[in-house]
């Protein structure tokens, strides 16, 4: 963002006399306003998609009345929440009760500052990026504890305590896994993490050339074989980076209190956990920050593992994928009425298209470069970043309706006795590999 405003500041003449700080603040303010509205819309759309996914999995229709296919349902929900009475229980600690949503929401919104949204573009370039995000992410616990205690309700207090214990526990494997990835990336800056990847499988700035056997085929033969998505960190040291990805994804589910780890708000036991007593607008902000947190976690995983805003396929692949997908879809359409089968057909076609693209040896990845309009990279990068992150969010929803809830003791055992030792071993293995292959 700073670079962008600097660019404007140098080019636009009417800004000449002003000190730099003024356009900087105004620019940042506008961006923050856009992002905060994006979060609101994102959370709304997520609730709609979540209900549709649930309906699909349970063979129902889902919301259908507001707008075509119920697509405006989330807007109606938001309006309803705005018109709802906002009660504060008599026994509650009123000050803390009103303060808690602020801490939860500010904590999750502040995490967006360091996210690398597009090439050369993030709200601020903090050189402690990832550490900063997990630090502010953990401050959400305090808001939850505050809400639970201030409600002065048994459900809320139990939910808050369970939630805090759960988030705190799962932060250990998360931290260890991020450390393991840091050994590979060598920087805390979220932006550099992606910017230093070259699409031919090497990492610029460092000496790194090494994927171990057999995937080194992609990097050592970069000239005649396109790497594309194989240059991402998840493919760097195959079995271990995959394990790291799975660990951190499980932890993300636990830290955002998603099923199968939704014990803090298990509706059959605790009504709705720490926000049982909240209603109206205050409740909706807890809801909002929950979805914002889901996105932030997905964005961290996207940045560390899935190459952030880098395009995954070369241009041939990107063009062939939808084409092949549609052809296969058309072929299947007459034979089956089940949308799931059609979807599978489309995905298979897309996969074939991508594979053909890899085989073609095309080394253009950015449409922007191909067309010769460099600034298009911004939109392309933005598209890929949000597509990947959103894909991970959808996966979270899918899991919610597939896996039953864990028990508290199973959850703690999974964290401390399985994930933490595994994360330690993974850290050692990646450390040794990085030392051998760097």
């Amino acid at each position: 963002m700073k670079e962008f405003i600097e660019h404007l500041y140098n080019e636009l003449e009417f800004l000449e006399g002003l000190p730099f700080i003024i356009p900087f603040i105004i620019g940042s303010f506008i961006l923050a306003f856009i992002i905060i509205n994006f979060i609101a819309v994102f959370a709304g759309v997520c609730t709609y998609i979540e209900r549709k996914v649930a309906a699909r999995i349970q063979a129902r229709v889902g919301p259908y009345m507001v707008g075509p296919h119920g697509i405006l349902q989330w807007l109606a929900d938001a309006l309803k929440l705005l018109f709802k009475e906002d009660t504060v229980p008599e026994k509650a600690d009123k000050l803390l009760f009103k303060l808690a949503p602020f801490i939860v929401f500010a904590g999750s919104f502040a995490c967006w500052v360091a996210l690398p949204l597009a090439p050369a573009f993030s709200p601020a370039r903090l050189n402690i990026g990832i550490l900063y995000i997990i630090a502010f992410g953990s401050s959400v616990i305090l808001g939850i504890l505050m809400a639970g205690w201030a409600s002065s309700s048994k459900w809320a207090l139990f939910g808050a305590m369970r939630s805090a214990a759960q988030i705190v526990s799962y932060e250990v494997p998360t931290g260890l896994t991020i450390l393991a990835m840091l050994l590979i990336t060598g920087t805390l800056d979220m932006h550099n993490t992606i910017a230093q990847i070259n699409l031919d499988g090497t990492i610029s700035g460092g000496q790194s050339q090494g994927l171990p056997f057999p995937l080194n085929y992609f990097s050592t033969n970069a000239d005649n074989f396109s790497a594309g998505m194989f240059s991402w960190y998840i493919f760097r040291y195959p079995p271990f980076t995959f394990i790291a990805f799975i660990i951190i994804y499980i932890c993300a589910l636990a830290e955002t209190n998603r099923v199968p780890f939704d014990i803090p708000e298990a509706e059959s036991e605790l009504v709705s956990g720490y926000h049982t007593e909240y209603s109206g607008m205050r409740f909706s902000f807890f809801f909002l920050s929950e979805y914002a947190n889901m996105f932030v976690f997905s964005a961290i995983i996207t940045t560390l593992f899935l190459g952030g805003w880098l395009p995954p396929f070369n241009i041939t692949g990107s063009l062939l994928a939808p084409a092949c997908g549609i052809i296969l879809y058309m072929l299947v359409k007459g034979k089956t009425t089940d949308p799931a089968n059609r979807f599978i057909a489309f995905c298979t076609g897309a996969g074939i298209g991508i594979f053909l693209g890899v085989l073609s040896g095309d080394k253009n990845y950015w449409f922007a470069d191909y067309l010769g309009i460099q600034s298009l990279r911004f939109i392309e990068g933005l598209f890929w970043f949000f597509t990947k992150s959103f894909g991970l969010v959808i996966l979270m929803m899918w899991l919610r309706w597939t896996i039953p809830r864990y028990r508290v003791d199973q959850l703690m055992e999974l964290c401390w006795k399985k994930l933490t030792p595994l994360a330690f071993i993974n850290l050692f293995c990646i450390g040794i590999l990085e030392w051998l292959y760097k």
Partner: protein
Amino acid sequence: MSLNEILLNIIFYALALTGLFSSFMVATSTNMVRTAFSLLGVLFSFAGLYGLLRADFLFAAQILVYVGGILVLIIFAIMLTHKIANVNLSNESTSSSTVIAVVCILFAVLVFIALTLPEYIKINQRNKPLTEMIGNNLLSDSLLPFEILSVLLLACLIGAVYLARKEVKE
């Protein structure tokens, strides 16, 4: 004074005042849980001051360890006490004269340190990231203290868990 400096001063005084006010609340509040949550303000404003000093790593570590760790521990400890049912439990504080004497001595020590500090430490004008410097230092000069630190942490872990268990048994 340029606009930047004015802004910096405003932010500094806002942070310092938040810190002071929250510490005052910590000291005077009669409600134990509110005391713990006032500590949140203190810790955040201190983190902000670290940020102003361009100590980026300390800034994040302060929030991660103190807000996300120690404060949660304190609140869990409060939830553990017998008298939590009696919410308006007051802090059993020592007599105010002793407190004032201790505070005065501490304040004098702080003023002394601030006055005798070498000039180059006072204003940190580095723009280099702190993390790499700390990392290099940990792997060269401070290697031994760092390893000793791990033994200290080990002692903390075993000791604290042992005490917590003993407390329950009794």
